[in-house]
């Protein structure tokens, strides 16, 4: 009884903690989501929460002060004196608030509390990101032509072309390797494995220039093959380690019975290991896919910014313009680039929860 109660209490605590963490994670995302529908001018002026009804000072009657009143001296309004700074920030007088309406014309506004929403929402940000911005160019005769920029679709397909092989190749190689490290006996097995684990600590930045030099010599720069190989190589240590952890935990009895039945290593791998490791494959697949999908650095170095091969992350970075003047477009771009990883996650997430191991030994 006591134990049960304790567990129940513990559960509530866990749930509350999880709730708080979820809230903290989701709140900025929600803010970003709302911002992505707001016009650029609004994003600059007010926070996203102003979209919801809220209490705010709203403009009321206007008081005209004498035109030549000195702003650096105390200013008298309705028998009370205020300083310029107070009027700049707004100062409370009874139920209303006094604030400069037009300091130059010496008018003061008497504001009242009121409910307000700024419900102006627009799809412009999404339009600009998806179908491309419009650029105005002037001709010699002074007339204007608009030129449509490219949307995200090309970059989307480029990224997919890179991300899918760059996920499948390392996961496949790593599973072979993990099986070998876990269940094959060959000389130097441990040494090799430790080398691979040690690779985990090498930052990829140190490899950029040497690899780039080799790629230049091989003519792989800016090609899909080059970036597949780069992502595969950078991803392999972690994926191998992860798959090794999983595969080495599989019950030994399984393989022994398979061996007795005369199965070769390849049969065991393809008929037993792969189906059994679907949860692990799915989770490391998601990790690798997300990494490649969100990658900026590796693409920047090895594939570059030519429109025919440009990836989403780079296209989005370029959207803000040479001097960052269109940064509001990042809001909608972030959501669009999020769609694919979300889809992958929800597609594969059932493999996370499926307890494949249960009953596999009983066969």
């Amino acid at each position: 009884m006591v134990g049960k109660k304790k567990r129940k209490g513990g559960k509530t605590l866990v749930n509350i903690t999880l709730g708080v963490i979820c809230f903290l994670w989701l709140l900025p995302t929600l803010g970003l989501f709302i911002s992505s529908f707001r016009p650029a001018a609004d994003i600059l002026q007010t926070g996203w929460w102003k979209v919801f009804p809220h209490q705010e000072w709203t403009a009321g009657e206007t008081l005209q002060l004498s035109k030549d009143s000195d702003l650096r001296a105390p200013i008298e309004i309705n028998g009370k004196t205020y300083s310029d700074d107070e009027l700049k920030a707004g100062v409370k007088a009874d139920d209303s608030r006094l604030i400069w309406e037009n300091r130059r014309a010496r008018t003061v506004n008497v504001q009242e509390q009121g409910w307000k929403t700024t419900p102006e929402l627009t799809l412009d940000n999404y339009n600009n990101v998806l179908s491309g911005k419009e650029y105005k160019l002037k001709e010699a005769d002074g007339s204007e032509t608009t030129q449509k920029g490219t949307g995200l679709s090309q970059a989307f397909w480029n990224t997919l072309t890179i991300a899918v092989p760059a996920t499948v190749i390392p996961v496949l190689i790593a599973s072979f390797a993990a099986y070998a490290f876990a269940w094959l006996r060959f000389p130097g097995r441990k040494t090799l494995f430790v080398i691979i684990i040690a690779m985990l600590v090498i930052p990829i930045q140190v490899a950029l220039i040497p690899v780039l030099k080799d790629y230049t010599a091989l003519g792989l720069n800016g090609s899909y093959l080059g970036i597949w190989l780069a992502h595969t190589a950078f991803g392999l240590p972690l994926v191998t380690y992860f798959m090794y952890n999983f595969i080495s935990q599989l019950p030994k009895d399984l393989f022994e019975s398979a061996f007795i039945d005369g199965a070769s290593h390849f049969t065991i791998f393809s008929r037993l290991i792969l189906p059994l490791s679907v949860p692990a494959l799915a989770s490391i697949g998601i990790f690798q896919f997300l990494w490649v999908w969100n990658d900026y650095l590796v693409s920047l170095i090895f594939i570059g910014n030519q429109p025919s091969v440009q990836v989403m992350s780079m296209k989005i970075a370029d959207l803000v313009g040479s001097r960052g003047n269109d940064w509001h477009l990042l809001t909608s771009a972030a959501f669009i680039s999020m769609l694919m990883p979300l889809a992958i996650f929800f597609l594969l997430q059932k493999y996370f929860v499926r307890g494949l191991m249960g009953g596999s030994v009983k066969g």
Partner: protein, 474 residues
């Protein structure tokens, strides 16, 4: 019992391995160091051949410069790769300005723009993957690459006489840099912008009865007048992400040019005149009279470091304007509201001289194009970039000034742009943005940071200046 030695063994193995990996890492570097000497050689060989071809043909038959040959279709079907920082709207404008050239010559200029140009170009050059032409917005960066000897010296590539005719001497001086062995001409100037401009809301400015100040005293008097009338005159913002502080450096450079001689300015840029010297200190003190006066700055001094430079001019377009002046380069117009019209709603005036003996100095910035691979078609494209024609359509779209003399003033679509071009062509002293010329550690490091600290009040002027100067020592 069995476990312990196993563990020890693996630990020893890890240590051994990490050591061998370090060694092999170094080894790898060595073999890679060998590689680049090979690859430039490989690219140089055909380049040298081409060199001979062009010089031979130039000597014997004089069929014309590479550009003329290109116009005849000599290099049809060739490709020239180009790498630079233009993205988005700038890239569209750039591409439209080279379109005609591409169609006429059949040379395909493959332009690649990247927001990370500054960071990437070094990696590309080191990795042997340099573009044929690179476009540097910061000559300091080009200077550091030129020192490695990987940039083609343009002295023998382009006709120097023609260049002298088409550029103000200041521009040519600024393109001469230290090469591996002696001075080289590292690049040519293509796009420039002017940084001595004070933007103001013209319509309301005229309605309020103000007049454009011609001297510094008039400017300060007008600032005081506007403050009395009820507005802070200046809209200042220096926030710019990791580059926060750079607009402040433009102020200091502008005032330096107006309070001391161009020679001193050059010395300051090259590091001979320290930041702690009275000249620099004086310039910042002049600036402080505006910046540190709560009545003169929109939002007060403390808002300067938190306001993005692109957002700073926005209050000028409120009705009535909440601020009146914004000192910044002409590229700022891309941040102005789309509804605002040049010459009507906004305009600029030249930041007035402070000390008359230094004339009317103009601070400029710009893009220098450098050549990494010497092929005839690349030469043709480089020569094309020295002509005003190469930037004509961009000039028409506004926002840039052509540094070439053959760029006609008629190309500028607005009075504002035309006056700007005139200002550059007639400047008594033309100086390049100092912080872009200083080594990155100072010009894009301590200078930005020191100014930000000073303005935000976390450092006194002397502390800030010492901090900036320390960038030279590291």
């Amino acid at each position: 019992m069995r476990k312990t030695p196993g563990r020890k063994l693996s630990l020893a193995m890890v240590l051994c391995l990490s050591f061998t990996m370090m060694l092999s890492g170094c080894g790898g570097n060595n073999s890679n160091n060998a590689a680049p000497t090979k690859s430039p050689a490989a690219t140089e060989a055909p380049a040298a051949d081409n060199n001979k071809d062009t010089t031979n043909s130039a000597d014997s038959a004089v069929p014309g410069s590479p550009l003329e040959l290109a116009m005849k279709g000599e290099y049809k079907g060739t490709k020239v790769t180009m790498f630079g920082p233009f993205v988005d709207a700038d890239q569209v404008k750039f591409e439209s300005s080279i379109k005609e050239f591409e169609e006429k010559t059949g040379i395909d200029i493959q332009y690649e723009g990247s927001k990370e140009f500054e960071a990437t170009i070094n990696i590309r050059v080191d990795g042997g993957n340099a573009p044929d032409i690179a476009d540097f917005p910061q000559p300091g960066l080009l200077a550091s690459i030129a020192k490695t000897g990987k940039v083609v010296d343009l002295t023998g590539v382009l006709d120097q006489e023609k260049l002298k005719g088409n550029y103000n001497q200041s521009w040519l001086d600024m393109s001469t840099m230290d090469g591996k062995d002696g001075k080289i001409m590292a690049g040519i100037w293509n796009r420039s912008n002017v940084k001595s401009l004070v933007w103001y809301p013209k319509k309301q400015f005229d309605e309020a009865g103000y007049t454009v100040p011609q001297t510094w005293d008039e400017l300060m008097a007008l600032t005081e007048q506007i403050a009395k009338d009820g507005d802070p005159a200046w809209a200042i913002g220096i926030e710019s992400g990791a580059a926060t502080g750079w607009p402040a450096t433009d102020w200091v450079e502008n005032i330096m040019l107006r309070t001391t001689s161009p020679e001193n300015y050059d010395k300051w840029v090259s590091g001979e005149l320290p930041f702690t010297s009275p000249e620099v200190k004086n310039a910042i003190e002049v600036m402080s009279k505006i910046w540190l006066n709560e009545d003169y700055v929109y939002g007060g001094t403390k808002s300067i470091v938190t306001t993005a430079f692109g957002d700073a001019p926005k209050p000028m377009f409120d009705n009535p304007p909440k601020a009146w002046f914004n000192l910044i380069g002409n590229f700022i117009t891309s941040f102005f509201p789309e509804t605002a019209k040049v010459d009507v709603d906004y305009d600029w005036f030249y930041l007035p001289p402070i000390d008359e003996q230094y004339g009317k100095p103009v601070l400029v910035a710009g893009d220098i194009y450098a050549m990494f691979n010497d092929r005839p078609e690349v030469r043709a494209v480089m020569e094309f970039f020295t002509t005003g024609e190469s930037i004509k359509s961009w000039v028409q779209s506004g926002g840039v000034v052509a540094p070439m003399n053959d760029a006609s003033l008629d190309w500028y679509q607005s009075e504002s742009d035309r006056r700007m071009a005139q200002l550059v062509q007639e400047a008594s002293t033309l100086r390049f943005d100092g912080s872009d010329l200083m080594p990155g550690k100072v010009g894009a490091g301590t200078f930005w940071k020191g100014m930000t600290d000073y303005v935000s009040g976390t450092a006194t002027l002397d502390q800030a200046l010492e901090q900036i100067q320390s960038g030279w020592n590291n």
